[in-house]
């Protein structure tokens, strides 16, 4: 059903890609040649990207999100540039996160990063780890995200030059969160952040994936095309906080793929505040019995913003659990989209799944599209779902006004409260507080 891919856009990208494949895979930390397996992965992705079509609103998966404007932008891949000072990124730092990997326009910035000497895990940038740890990384990198089917995942993989790698060894519990900070500083370029997080058997960790903008002008446009892959081995637990606070003119296209083994547990909270157009695909595969995923999401947008969240939770084996809560708050002319697919495969008996999509419209011109999508092929399952779209409750507003609060304060407080429920599941105290303040400020400016 797709239109042919925009030839100009893709050919422009591939031209820059051809030039790059001859270079070193990494950005300066090591002069050696790219590993052949990495080269192969990229070659495969380039081939995939060449065969995939540019998505249009005629595609079911892109019905509500028109990215035709994106195809017209001649954004070239970002090149290594000026590294911001530590003081510039200070506001984004998270005090609990002693381990921090910082990427500037997709390039690793060791001077801004910090890795504790006893980190109890393999942590670093891909370019530095790819040779020595090939046997650990190779089975997972590019193996979970569907770059065969997804153009943006394919493009990210085709341009793969570096990324964040975390491997938590068997039986290790890492209490303090790891902060992966992706900063964009350049204008009219595309950058390709990449994450691979592997929790080996019985391990436990918390990862914060964070996208921020440091352009001088909030009007500056750029594209972030990111991919994150999570692999949880048996009994592993990963808490994943995803925070998208790009500037108001950015395009943010992201894919996250999660594979869960026996009795593993993936708990995620994603918060989308920024970008002119953002699209987040989250694919969770419950691949062995008693795996569990708990996913919460909040999109808080205004003006002309569009935030689209597509999730797919695939129950492949019996006795797995998935719970999902997603909320959108749209003000101004903003447009929020939620598509939540839940698949229960024929053998996935005793699946226990719930999904709720609650949405708040703050203006007459805002728009919210929500689509729960259940595909159930097993007969002994529990799948609850619900979706609501509404405005602030006038009885609640009256209650607050009858206690002396102004109309505006009452509305702001109720809007904040609506979003705060999701922030409550953020497992890092200082980050939760920061997010509450951000949401409070944003709801007060509405």
């Amino acid at each position: 059903m797709s239109e042919p891919a925009n030839v100009d856009y893709l050919s422009c990208l591939f031209k820059s890609l051809d030039a790059k494949t001859d270079d070193s895979v990494n950005a300066g930390t090591s002069p050696e040649n790219p590993q052949s397996w990495l080269k192969q992965l990229r070659a495969q992705a380039i081939e995939n990207a060449g065969q995939l079509k540019w998505p249009t609103t005629k595609d079911e998966e892109w019905r509500f999100t028109d990215i035709s404007s994106l195809a017209k932008l001649p954004f070239k891949p970002a090149q290594p540039g000026r590294i911001p000072a530590l003081s510039d990124i200070q506001p984004y730092l998270i005090k609990e996160a002693v381990n921090r990997l910082v990427f500037v326009d997709g390039f690793f910035a060791p001077e801004l990063s910090s890795i504790a000497s006893e980190s109890q895990m393999l942590i670093g940038n891909l370019a530095a780890l790819a040779t020595q740890h090939a046997s650990t990384i190779m089975p997972h990198l590019g193996q979970h995200v569907q770059h065969q089917k997804n153009l943006f995942a394919a493009l990210n993989t085709a341009f793969l030059h570096d990324g964040a790698v975390i491997v938590v060894p068997q039986n290790n519990v890492v209490d303090l969160p790891v902060h992966l900070l992706f900063i964009s500083t350049q204008v009219e370029t595309t950058h390709y952040p990449r994450c691979l997080i592997v929790g080996e058997a019985n391990s436990k960790t918390t990862v914060i994936e964070d996208y921020v903008a440091l352009q001088k002008n909030a009007e500056d446009a750029y594209i972030t095309n990111s991919v994150a892959e999570f692999k949880l081995a048996a009994n592993a637990q990963i808490q994943h906080v995803r925070l998208q606070r790009e500037n108001q003119n950015a395009f943010h296209l992201a894919n996250c793929a999660v594979s869960l083994d026996h009795a593993s547990r993936y708990q995620a909270v994603s918060v989308s505040l920024g970008a002119k157009i953002s699209r987040y695909n989250l694919d969770v595969r419950l691949e062995a019995e008693t795996a569990e995923s708990i996913i919460d999401g909040l999109a808080l947008i205004t003006d002309q913003q569009l935030a689209d969240t597509h999730t797919c939770i695939d129950h492949l084996k019996p006795n797995c659990t998935s719970h999902q809560k997603h909320k959108c708050i749209a003000d101004g002319n903003a447009h929020a989209v939620f598509n939540g697919k839940i698949i229960v495969r024929p053998h996935a008996q005793k699946t226990n799944s719930s999904q709720s999509s609650r949405n708040l419209l703050l203006s007459d011109k805002a728009q919210i599209d929500t689509k729960p999508q259940l595909e159930i092929f097993a007969d002994d399952v529990k799948c609850a779902h619900g979706a609501t779209v509404g405005q602030l409750d006038k009885e609640e507003i009256f209650y607050l006004k009858s206690r002396g609060l102004s109309e505006l304060t009452a509305r702001n407080l109720l809007t904040y409260a609506f979003g705060a429920e999701i922030l409550d599941s953020v497992p890092v105290a200082s980050l939760k507080h920061t997010l509450e303040q951000i949401v409070l400020n944003q709801t007060q400016s509405c």
């Binding site: 609640e396 009256f398 009858s402 609060l405 109309e407 304060t409 409550d424």
Partner: protein, 264 residues
């Protein structure tokens, strides 16, 4: 607690009010002076709760005739928040749950908003915490209720206590309690009544809206008004409530012209 001066807190004259173009209130007259406690009784649908909501400024109701003076101000010209700031407080029949807003945050916001409008100092979170805990003791409330979301998961009795707690914090000139006794067991009723009695003084006034006499065993009214079809059809002293309890509301129709009460 009757105050013999001539100051008036509330003066309602010939009040008519509509909701969705249906007339609910059809000419209410009521005068409330400092130190007085008024009970308004009546069957379901007689307009008691509507009267309470009109006083508080609920947007679903429109006053079509008459006027309300509240401490020399035209009450109908004020927004709900201005009424609250001026000293009107409505304890809701069904207090609203607000998930995501901590009760302490809500109480402090309401308290500080009203204090600053009245030209008084605001309290910071620590000062407020001490202040609110003191008030909670009066209502025998567990301080854990400060950390929970406003009314969320509270039992009926806890919600009503939380309403009286708000009244204790906001110190209104006129407290209107809309069926605060409904859904309360006898112990909770006594605690709520004790709180209301404690807050009642010679400078303020209360209007209690209730179906039943039993609240009035614990909060003794100066006047009892009976509403029917949007009007006050009978006014008497506290003994009127006992008569109603004994004979039922039908008794009024036999006795309508035998006015035993004092005019309020």
């Amino acid at each position: 607690m009757k105050n013999q001066n001539n100051k008036t807190i509330l003066d309602v004259q010939n009040l008519h009010a509509n909701t969705q173009s249906t007339e609910i209130l059809k000419g209410i007259n009521l005068t409330v002076k400092p130190g007085e406690i008024h009970a308004i009784m009546g069957l379901n649908g007689s307009g008691k709760s509507t009267f309470a909501k009109v006083l508080a400024g609920h947007p679903d109701y429109t006053a079509t005739q008459g006027n309300i003076q509240f401490e020399q101000q035209d009450l109908l010209a004020l927004s709900p928040e201005e009424r609250a700031q001026a000293g009107i407080f409505l304890a809701f029949q069904y207090p609203i749950e607000i998930p995501g807003v901590a009760n302490s945050q809500f109480l402090r916001l309401a308290y500080n908003t009203i204090q600053s409008k009245r030209g008084n100092d605001e309290l910071d979170p620590l000062e407020f915490d001490d202040f609110v805990r003191e008030k909670m003791k009066l209502l025998e409330m567990n301080p854990d209720f400060l950390d929970r979301s406003v009314n969320e998961g509270f039992s009926g009795g806890e919600k009503k206590r939380n309403e009286i707690l708000q009244m204790a914090l906001l110190e209104p000139t006129l407290g209107i309690l809309d069926e605060t006794d409904s859904g309360l067991d006898i112990d909770a009723l006594k605690i709520v009544a004790k709180g209301v009695n404690h807050l009642s003084n010679s400078q303020n006034a209360m209007i209690l809206i209730t179906h039943y006499q039993r609240l009035l065993d614990h909060i003794v009214p100066d006047y009892v008004h009976v509403m029917e079809a949007g009007r006050i059809v009978k006014t008497g002293g506290k003994e009127l409530a006992l008569e109603l309890e004994k004979h039922g509301y039908d008794w009024l129709h036999d006795d309508r012209h035998n006015n035993v009460g004092v005019s309020a």
